[in-house]
């Protein structure tokens, strides 16, 4: 039980995918302009990340490993992720047209969110079990969502600040993300995993 909790703490705070491992920066910068959008994106990513880490684990353990085809992991994970994202897109389109419109191009872009592939690959390299894989994916997604939502609330404030023109937009966003990463260094050595 403690182990599972530690996995969550590790992925959400200590080894946060965005601010510590610097994965998934594209949607992090792209969708953090508005709080509503980022909440939607956070939910979609959480769903995709958890589901894809589960699927990739199953694919790896029950299809690739028995046949000794471990070297196909990257390509098959990409396949899995693409399908999960497409599936999510259709579900979102059906169930929440508003969210679908708000997320726009970023929903299919989850496919290229390296955090998703990163989680799948790390699951393998860390030799996580079934539950650990799901938790690891879920924790990574929660960590991503957590900083994404906080960051978007902060960006709404920064967007109206008197920022020098050359630093407007993404530049100040990256600087802020850097400062946030600095703040997240406070969690260093909190959990060793």
């Amino acid at each position: 039980m403690t182990e599972y909790l530690l996995i969550l703490v590790s992925t959400i705070l200590v080894n946060n995918f965005v601010l510590v491992q610097f994965l998934g920066l594209c949607p992090f910068m792209g969708v953090s302009g508005k709080l509503e959008t980022s909440i939607g994106m956070a939910m979609a990513t959480t769903f995709v990340l958890t589901l894809s880490s589960l699927c990739s684990y199953l694919t790896y353990t029950y299809i690739l490993q028995p046949f000794g085809l471990e070297y196909l992991q990257t390509i098959s994970f990409i396949l899995v992720i693409a399908v999960v994202v497409q599936f999510t897109e259709m579900v979102v389109h059906k169930t929440s047209p508003l969210l679908y419109r708000v997320l726009g191009i970023f929903l299919p872009l989850i496919t290229t969110n390296c955090a998703v592939l990163g989680v799948a690959l790390q699951n393998i390299s860390k030799q996580n079990g079934f539950v650990e894989s799901i938790l690891y994916g879920f924790g990574a997604a929660v960590g991503f969502s957590f900083v994404l939502i906080l960051f978007s609330a902060m960006r709404e404030r920064i967007n109206v600040a008197d920022v020098p023109v050359v630093f407007r937009g993404s530049a100040i966003g990256m600087i802020t993300a850097g400062l946030m990463a600095l703040a997240f260094m406070g969690f260093t050595a909190l959990v060793q995993i």
């Binding site: 906080l150 600040a161 703040a183 406070g186 959990v191």
Partner: protein, 352 residues
């Protein structure tokens, strides 16, 4: 008749300008600075001087680049306040370039790049502190000890301090020692009782010196409260959360945890609670938000002190909560007159 045409109100509360607020905060740090100088020598004062100059210069440089009126903005004392807070927070013997780096990074990257006073989302002093803490961990971990406990048995003289800061002081090791927090953190396998008995950093004299420092900042903080420059919410929530966290774990595991009193009176607890966390620009807006904000910092301080990689967690706690402040603001709006419930979040529309 050339009559003024401006909007109401036509009268203003006399005297209480932003610059006055900043000055008062600077004055309120004086008891703490005096105690620190008395206990740890002139290093703090020298740091303050370096920091002040660096802050004013970097602020002026950016203002000049942005073609803003330099005098007008320098006169609001905000850059100086950042410098003072940093000067206090840095170890008294830290090399001058660390101070300059911290201060100029704070002014340039944490403040001016966001548009100057009022626009910075992070506490500039703490950004400056954190950046040098992670960049130069060695000089940042050298704290002087009180004269009665350190190996040399005396305080660093003024010239020695200058030498340590601007050049190098080979004998510095005999003057420095771990702070109580640092000592407690590295008690390794000792239980807390034996740690308090054996470790030099946890001797009564060392702990008392930090108690004095904290009491001095508590005094300054109470003065700010009395002047109504800050409200009680943030410090009370911060100290309360720290008290509750340390109390809980102390009761739970007396042999390995430190007492709440220890947590409240060592390190930067009071300084952080009254001077750092209360920075209005980067903290939450409403009273309810300030309570959450303060409590968050308190909890984070305890977590980082106990399980994290750094002896004290004020800087990171404040930065992390700065990060969360805008979101907290959305969900802690006060109930407006005539509304049944406070609004939360961003849903546009009437009362829910």
């Amino acid at each position: 008749m050339a009559l003024l045409r401006i909007t109401s109100p036509h009268t203003q509360r006399a005297g209480r300008r932003t610059s006055w607020v900043m000055q008062m905060v600077i004055y309120a740090t004086l008891p703490g600075i005096i105690v620190q100088t008395w206990l740890f020598g002139w290093g703090t004062v020298i740091n303050l001087a370096i920091a002040g100059v660096a802050a004013l210069l970097s602020e002026a440089a950016i203002l000049a680049m942005r073609r803003r009126p330099i005098r007008f903005f320098l006169q609001d004392y905000s850059a100086l306040l950042t410098a003072v807070l940093l000067g206090i927070a840095l170890p008294p013997t830290v090399p001058w370039w660390v101070t300059v780096t911290a201060v100029s990074f704070a002014i340039v990257f944490a403040k001016q790049i966001y548009g100057g006073l009022g626009n910075n989302p992070f506490n500039p002093a703490m950004v400056g502190y954190a950046i040098v803490l992670v960049s130069f961990p060695v000089p940042m971990s050298q704290w002087l000890g009180v004269s009665s406990v350190v190996a040399s048995g005396e305080m660093l003289s003024f010239s020695q301090s200058l030498q340590a800061i601007f050049h190098q002081l080979p004998v510095i090791d005999s003057y420095t020692m771990a702070t109580p927090l640092d000592g407690f953190k590295h008690k390794e396998l000792l239980d807390s009782q034996s740690a308090f008995e054996t470790l030099p950093a946890l001797q009564a004299a060392s702990i008392d010196s930090w108690l004095w420092v904290n009491l001095a900042y508590l005094m300054g903080g109470l003065a700010l409260l009395w002047l109504r420059i800050i409200t009680w919410h943030t410090p009370a929530a911060l100290l309360g959360a720290l008290l509750v966290m340390s109390g809980l774990f102390y009761v739970f595991d007396t042999s390995n945890a430190a007492s709440p009193f220890f947590h409240l009176t060592t390190g930067a607890a009071m300084f952080g609670a009254f001077f750092i966390a209360t920075d209005p620009v980067s903290s939450c807006t409403s009273n309810r938000g300030k309570l959450i904000y303060g409590a968050g910092i308190g909890i984070l301080i305890y977590i980082i002190r106990t399980w994290g990689g750094y002896p004290d967690g004020v800087a990171f706690g404040v930065l992390l909560m700065n990060f969360a402040a805008p979101l907290i603001d959305y969900y802690t709006q006060p109930r407006t007159y005539g509304h049944k419930k406070a609004k939360t979040g961003l849903k546009i529309g009437g009362d829910h």
